[in-house]
Symmetry: C2
Subunit: 246 residues, 2 copies
């Protein structure tokens, strides 16, 4: 399949073997990955709105018909991006060691920056879609699979810790940490300092104050506050209190 | 000038009176306001990227040449939007009463939601520019005038309070409140609950915990934390430590 794409460079516009589905072969996966990389690169450079599938096909030297079989829309490329990055993230955080929920949640936070670091330019170009688009953004319905996957890492970090708070609170802390991680990522994408030094410094400061902040969780009104904010997050941003809490 | 625009509807494409600058007359201002309203409306509906000055001129029934004299670029429309909304905000918060810094900063926060509420649909459509564009976004150089104007309201709220903390800390708290207000606005734009009920609930929760949070400012390490985060915000997001602190 990969060969087919290569050779079709000179016959762009004439869809070949149209009836044959891409299929889950290794070559098919490699071809899809190549088209995906080209699509993401183009969107990062020219912006999501200004990119058409025709442009991507041209960059890849394949017919629009062939590209369409892998990615029927621009959205499909964005969802593939979520899928790739969240899968990388799960792989990276699989090495999470036993410990306190603070250490584990901080590890989850820092790992997200490590995983995304090589993709910063791409993600910067895609902020408009990631943040701004109700359907294709990180809080959109279609991103739910990847969102729940990443959210799961933060929840497990807290729930599976040696000093895990009781269940409903532990899950709420995990979800709020997930939200903090999104805020840190946005800060990191906008960070104007060299090598985003200020982002690392921010995470360091946050890590420094976290033990004291965690102590306040012993106070009933702080617990109530955390649970209330969590309920609002699920309602306002995830629009799916039940599933997000599962 | 307003009449000129009206009648040029049938001669779109033929710039009339090209040599005459718009000038700061009342009619000129009214004409500019009308073109601005049409431009913002179109961007909100079709997205910033997909809007051209030609489209806006067509919607307004004026020549591109005439439109160009008021708004030489799409950016100019965005900067006019910042200017309008931040001026409205300053007018609204001019009624700020004496009191504690917490009450005054909360008033500043709630006022920003009040001022922006009628423009939510527009701003939602413009999230990609507001957040995602390094040059035209709220942290961009060009938005500095409006940004400093709004920031000033939050700083004055804290510095001019009956219980204002000493100077460098008071200013830092004002700036961090400004950042909280931006985060709340982003939450509000993404809020999926009816009438953004969850945003009001969030502000209410925040108001409820603020007195206790403020008490922790007596602890030296909390003060150090606030000052350090503030220094990072200025460096990472405003990229202008000196002016932002003026």
């Amino acid at each position: 399949m990969f060969t087919e794409i290569k050779t079709s460079a000179n016959t762009a516009g004439k869809p070949r073997g149209r009836g044959r589905p891409p299929g889950p072969t290794a070559q098919g996966a490699a071809a899809k990955k190549r088209l995906y990389d080209i699509g993401v690169k183009r969107m990062a450079r020219h912006g999501y709105e200004m990119t058409t599938l025709r442009d991507v096909a041209k960059d890849a030297g394949v017919s629009v018909g062939l590209l369409y079989r892998y990615f029927p829309s621009k959205r499909a490329v964005i969802f593939a991006l979520y899928d790739e990055l969240s899968a990388d993230y799960v792989t990276t955080t699989a090495a999470m060691r036993p410990g306190t929920w603070r250490d584990r949640a901080l590890f989850a936070l820092r790992s997200s920056l490590d995983v995304l670091r090589p993709h910063r330019t791409t993600l910067r170009g895609l902020i408009p879609v990631l943040v701004g688009d109700p359907d294709e953004g990180v809080f959109g319905e279609q991103a739910e699979f990847s969102r729940v996957r990443v959210l799961g890492v933060f929840q497990d970090a807290v729930v599976g810790a040696s000093d895990a708070p009781p269940r409903p609170l532990a899950e709420a802390i995990g979800r709020l940490f997930y939200l903090v991680h999104l805020a840190v990522l946005l800060w990191w994408l906008l960070d104007k300092t060299t090598s985003q030094r200020a982002t690392d410094a921010l995470v360091q400061l946050f890590a420094g104050i976290l033990p004291s902040a965690a102590m306040t969780l012993r106070l009933p009104f702080v617990r109530r506050f955390v649970l209330s904010v969590d309920a609002l997050v699920r309602e306002a941003l995830f629009a799916d209190p039940v599933k997000a809490g599962a």
